[in-house]
């Protein structure tokens, strides 16, 4: 049998750290231009506040996760529930 090539880049903590810092840098770089850019808004002037969509995305996801978590208590059943 041919030996399968195994990648393990993500197993090393220093690589994960690099990724994390890279990720944070990207986040900052994405919000920075908001302070210098004039943006078109759709419905309200709030949308042109710097970082509005960043905050919007973050809060939406937190709310979605919390709501799902709560609904999970109500809806989740053991896998053999129907058997």
């Amino acid at each position: 049998m041919k030996e399968k090539k195994v990648y393990d880049w993500f197993d090393h903590p220093q690589n994960i750290r690099k990724l994390r810092y890279g990720f944070y840098t990207v986040l900052v770089l994405l919000v920075l231009p908001d302070f210098f850019l004039h943006k078109h808004t759709y419905f309200s002037a709030v949308e042109s506040v710097p970082g509005f969509f960043a905050l919007f995305g973050f809060i939406s996801c937190v709310v979605i996760i919390l709501v799902s978590k709560l609904l999970g208590y109500l809806l989740k059943r053991r896998e053999d529930y129907y058997d």
Binding site: L30, D34, L37, H40, F56, C61, I64, Y82
Partner: protein, 589 residues
């Protein structure tokens, strides 16, 4: 007249030819049919049609316009990639079912009247069921049974609506419906069952993950998107669809987050994405129709890609639960890359195909001033990245290493994924070829500095939320209750109740009429005259109260009975009297 050959006939002919070919021939044929189908559709001119008369109705088996052509194109492109992915199958049965199923979907999008549409609709339901049955497990059999029952239910609603519509208007034409009547509502609900709109959504997440590796890939494209097509054609601008679409978009996300099975996660995200398209149909402007059609086009391709990568994982490991998977990037890097491309496309990440189609629907909503629609779709956009964009690749290919070292899938599977991944990036970078085939002229620019930046912020901060709240998203070995509870458990309870109620009644009746009454009568007719005398005398004793000679008389009667002293004719006399009474009763009545 090659330019008049309807594409569905090509697929049906291919399916009929299939069983007579050896495996090599079959594998070639299933690639050739979609390729030829593409050429056929490319040569069809908008405005062409093919009529035939049946039962005195003027039916249109082929109606070509730009809307049907968009769906036609993506159906055959996707069919080609799916059949490339499915080259490893040794038997002809799945290919046969898939060819008929895809052919019927093509028939449905090119059908110009309601009757033809209905016929193709039912063929789709029946033949797609075989793609679930082909998994050959008890779970898949049960699931397929529920699947086909649900679709027959939807089909019956559609049929009832169509019959009412023909009765009301005298026309079988399938164009935009403008009046709200019971007929159009029934047709709408029939369509929505296939679009997997809650509460008729559970069939999708129930059945698709139980289908075969390749069947799942094929099914994701056709049933729901044909329903989207029919909504765009028939119900554009019906505002109720905006509500339905928003509910679908959010519902899909929440259930996908709760889910553990990777293919079920992807099944819920179909409902989420179809929600965007249904919203587009509800907004109903030219731009919204364009957006929904474009999004259906892109969605079919990236969804097939996602299902292929999940299918490849299932094929190589035999596992599909996130709790069993993880760390697969180590030995399946190509599958991981293709799956991630699909995940980025579904999240409408800039430079991937979802980004050039989905924002068109939302822009159409903004143009019409629908604030709530925009808000919910924007929240749903963030949520898509959460459940399909990150969760799927993260838990399958990264996360906890479960020690699985499966290796890459066969080359033809990788090739199918590679073509789709290329298309996802191509349409994301250069969407013009897609915009050119849309039903209306496109006045939309996907890449603008501010909107692209907004989208990137939205997605990357969703990712931040995902990683910060990762402990709350840990997978559990559970399933989630859905509306299928009603017919899975509710059905069982109803069955139990019916068994208790009707079987009890049955048993009582059985005891009385089959056992007690006949044995009573048998005892009586052993000696009818003696019994008449005995019971008559007992009655007389009880009413008159004179009981002093009772024992003697009874003993006399019994002794006469024992010695056969009663004349045989007495029984006959009784029978004749009984018949006379019955005849009299019948005569009086």
């Amino acid at each position: 007249m090659t330019d008049f050959l309807p594409p569905f006939l090509l697929f049906f002919a291919g399916a009929l030819l299939l069983p007579f070919l050896p495996r090599v021939g079959r594998n070639l044929l299933i690639l050739l049919v979609p390729a030829l189908g593409f050429v056929l559709i490319a040569f069809m001119e908008p405005g062409q049609s093919w009529h035939y008369r049946l039962f005195g109705l003027d039916l249109t088996l082929l109606r070509v316009d730009k809307l049907s052509k968009v769906f036609g194109y993506v159906y055959v492109i996707n069919a080609f990639c799916c059949f490339l992915f499915a080259q490893h199958l040794k038997k002809a049965d799945e290919h046969f079912a898939a060819l008929v199923y895809i052919g019927a979907s093509l028939g449905a999008v090119f059908a110009g009247d309601l009757i033809s549409l209905y016929l193709f609709w039912e063929v789709m339901a029946v033949f797609s069921t075989f793609l679930i049955l082909a998994r050959r497990t008890e779970r898949s059999w049960n699931s397929a049974y529920r699947y086909v029952l649900m679709h027959l239910f939807g089909g019956l609603l559609l049929l009832a609506g169509i019959l009412l519509q023909i009765h009301d208007t005298g026309s079988v034409a399938f164009d935009g419906f403008s009046v709200q009547t019971p007929a159009t509502w029934l047709i709408l609900i029939g369509f929505l069952v296939n679009a997997a709109a809650p509460p008729f959504s559970a069939w999708l997440s129930d059945a698709y993950p139980e289908a075969t590796v390749t069947g799942g890939v094929i099914m994701t494209a056709y049933t729901t998107k044909t329903a989207v097509y029919t909504l765009l054609r028939g119900f554009a601008g019906w505002e109720v669809l905006m509500v339905v679409g928003c509910v679908m978009a959010i519902y899909g996300i929440i259930y996908a987050i709760l889910e553990n099975d990777m293919r079920r996660i992807l099944a819920y995200s179909i409902i989420n994405q179809v929600g965007f398209m249904v919203c587009g149909a509800g907004i109903g402007t030219a731009m919204a129709i364009n957006g929904a059609a474009a999004h259906a086009f892109c969605h079919i391709l990236y969804k097939a890609l996602l299902w292929m990568s999940a299918g490849a994982v299932l094929y190589m490991t035999g596992k599909s639960k996130c709790t069993d998977l993880g760390g697969l990037y180590k030995t399946m890097p190509l599958t991981m890359i293709f799956g991630t491309i699909g995940a980025l496309a579904i999240s409408s990440f800039p430079a991937f195909s979802g980004y050039t189609s989905k924002p068109m629907i939302m822009a159409a909503g903004v143009n019409e001033g629908f604030f709530w629609v925009w808000l919910i779709l924007e929240i749903a956009s963030a949520g898509v990245f959460l459940h399909a964009g990150i969760k799927f690749p993260y838990f399958v290919f990264f996360a906890k290493d479960n020690g699985l070292r499966p290796g890459e899938p066969p080359k033809h599977m990788l090739a199918g994924m590679a073509i789709l991944a290329f298309l996802c990036i191509f349409l994301g970078v250069y969407p013009q070829p897609l915009y050119d085939i849309l039903p209306y002229g496109v006045d939309f620019q996907a890449y603008k500095l501010d909107s692209t930046l907004n989208q990137l912020q939205l997605l990357m901060f969703s990712a931040l939320a995902f990683f910060l709240l990762l402990p709350m998203l840990k997978r559990t070995e559970t399933i989630s209750l859905d509306s299928d509870w009603l017919y899975r458990l509710g059905g069982r309870q109803l069955f139990r109740f019916c068994r208790w109620a009707f079987d009890g009644l049955n048993e009582q009746a059985n005891r009385l009429f089959a056992h007690q009454l006949p044995s009573l009568l048998a005892r009586f007719f052993v000696n009818p005259l003696g019994n008449v005398q005995k019971y008559g005398y007992r009655l007389w004793v009880e009413t008159s109260g004179i009981a002093d000679q009772q024992e003697r008389v009874t003993a006399e009667i019994e002794s006469r009975s024992r010695h056969g002293a009663y004349p045989v004719g007495g029984g006959v006399l009784l029978a004749v009297m009984f018949l006379a009474v019955v005849s009299l009763l019948l005569y009086i009545k």
